[in-house]
Amino acid sequence: MRGCVRLSVVLAAATLTLAGCGGDDDEAEPAGESGAGASTGESADISGTTMTFVSWGGTYQDAQEQTMTTPFAEARGVEFLQDGPTDYAKIKTQVEAGQVTWDVIDMDPYFAIQQCNKLLVPIDTSVVDTSKMPPELVSECAVPSMVYSTANYYNADKFGDGPPTDWADFFDTEKFPGKRAVFNDSQGGALEAALMADGVAEEDLYPIDYDRAFAKLDTIKDDLIFWDEGAQAQQMIETGEADMVMAWLGRGYTAIKNGANYEPVWNGAQGVYDVFTVPKGSKNEAAAMEFISYATGAEAQTGLAEALPYAPINSDADPQVDELLASFLPTKPEISEQMVTIDQDWWAANKDEADQLWTSWTGG
């Protein structure tokens, strides 16, 4: 009996060693040298490449496919693979293992700021024209892909006459009884909303006073429910699961378009945006930069804004949209002047700590 156990161990160990040998030989390709050739403004010849575009799925990625990757693929002779949703752990694993399969990733700006030059490469500004973008949205490793907002969508059946007008009303369950829903993430906007409801002015929001924010959130804790996926927020609005839902623009708009009798509160709505990035070790870096240049151009941005109420980041874009969509665009002056901007640099530095505190508060 002992003999056969010994042999099985030896054979298995041999197989293990053989399997283990293959893993470490690939190293991440050196980054940064591929962008130098396009400095004259002529587009590099990238036909024949196959790139992977990664975003958040759903109607957003469908619209991106329709207005960005497909026209670009046709014009430049490249092929696109769609993947998603964006998963930060996957990016880290890919870059660490030197096996990067993703080329262009749509992600949150705080992560792009946090991981610049660690997991992401700097954007090649000789290829990507950043002059038409709002400068505060551009960072070393990321350019904005679109602008959206997080706002309070309230049940107009219940609160139609005498609707909520600001975040204080979101936290007032006496005047507006009913459930509240927020994104289950520290940077979902609930902390900023709580501070604003407690009377903090926009300029004083950061650094976030956690104690004050959590104390305010405690006042509605019994009525508070959480959503983890955008689709859940949309479903909550459509089924009326919560009477006030703090949701993303695209989800709120789609739910209302589908017939939900909910209305947004623009006063204090939080301005957020997504960014395009390229991971370190991507095998198609030059092509990725060319794509980003196209996707942030006027044509693609106009197209996207006409499909979904995500505001274009290119000042030349001129979307023609229907009334309902137009009433949702964050760049509309009446809306943008009421909005509050989330400080992505602060979040890049403090997300980890905020996450720990958020978990303690929600889990307790």
């Binding site: 003999g3 056969c4 099985s8 197989t15 959480f226 089924t239 699961e241 980890d352 978990t359 303690s360």
Partner: protein, 283 residues
């Protein structure tokens, strides 16, 4: 065959175990060992992650809650599965197939679909609550709490309990129960003293399986529960996916593994470990 090989393998058919062993070691053992190593290497070397885990009150609370929820789900599953498996063992062959199909059919649909179906059924504005309201009981909170999670997990894990129970029960000779009654025991006593102990191997197999599965279950508690009853699996996902803290994620996984091993050890003190494998009793 060379002498040393014949000597090492008393029976050459034992060589057939090598591919499976290698597969498990490479695709299961190696990644698990990797994660365990990361838990003591990232972000700093040593047991810092483990210390941090047990010092953080909310983490320990979540661990306790995970074990408690798993126990509740196991008990509920057992309560539902035992009569069902018993019924399956006494009916005719045709009905047995029907009963088996009823339990297995949901098993063949996607887990995500089943979980979302439960959300739609149990939500505040859902069908179950509509029925409860018409019946005069009033709307109850059926999701975002342990109740909803238990209901959904019990249904999803039911086949894992029913099948081992049935496998054992079909091998139990019911004439033994009749014999006990003829010797003077009332039906209830005969059932409890003869049938139930004979069905124990199935109970242990099913309960162990369901318990271990519920400890690690992610999708259903994540979607049906609220953060207030988060389980350890959700915490691990947060550490790995959001915080990119693979070290802490590995630590939590290692602790969960340790909990399972300790509980299995405890069970094996009470019951013979091989009792779970005795599928068929003496005929």
């Amino acid at each position: 065959m060379p002498g040393w090989l014949r000597q090492a393998f008393g029976d050459r058919w034992l060589l057939l175990v090598v591919p499976t062993l290698a597969f498990l070691l490479i695709f299961f053992g190696y990644p698990v060992v990797q994660m365990l190593l990361r838990s003591v290497q990232e972000p700093t070397s040593g047991l810092g992650n483990y210390e941090l885990f047990f010092q953080t009150e909310v983490y320990v609370k979540i661990l306790r809650r995970t074990v408690t929820t798993a126990i509740i789900v196991t008990v509920v599953c057992l309560a539902l599965a035992y009569p069902y498996a018993y019924l399956m063992s006494i009916v005719s062959r045709r009905w047995r197939i029907v009963l088996l199909a009823v339990v297995l059919l949901p098993f063949w649909t996607s887990l995500m679909v089943r979980t979302y179906a439960w959300i739609i059924l149990l939500q505040d504005t859902g069908i179950v609550n509509d029925v409860l309201e018409r019946a005069g009981i009033g709307r109850q909170s059926l999701i975002r709490n342990t109740l909803g999670v238990t209901i959904a997990m019990a249904q999803i894990l039911l086949p894992f309990m029913v099948l081992p129970l049935y496998a054992v029960m079909q091998g139990i000779d019911r004439r033994l129960v009749q014999a006990a009654e003829s010797l003077g025991a009332n039906p209830a006593k005969a059932f409890l003293r003869i049938y139930v102990p004979l069905s124990m191997p199935g109970v242990i197999a099913g309960a162990t399986l369901v318990f271990i599965l519920s400890l690690g279950f992610y999708v259903t508690p994540a979607l049906l529960g609220s953060p207030q009853n988060a389980m350890l699996s959700q915490l691990i996902v947060q550490q790995v996916s959001t915080l990119l803290n693979f070290g802490m994620g590995g630590t939590m996984a290692a602790i969960l593994l340790a909990v399972i091993l300790v509980i299995l050890l405890g069970i094996s003190r009470v019951v013979r470990p091989s009792a779970a494998y005795d599928a068929v009793g003496p005929r």
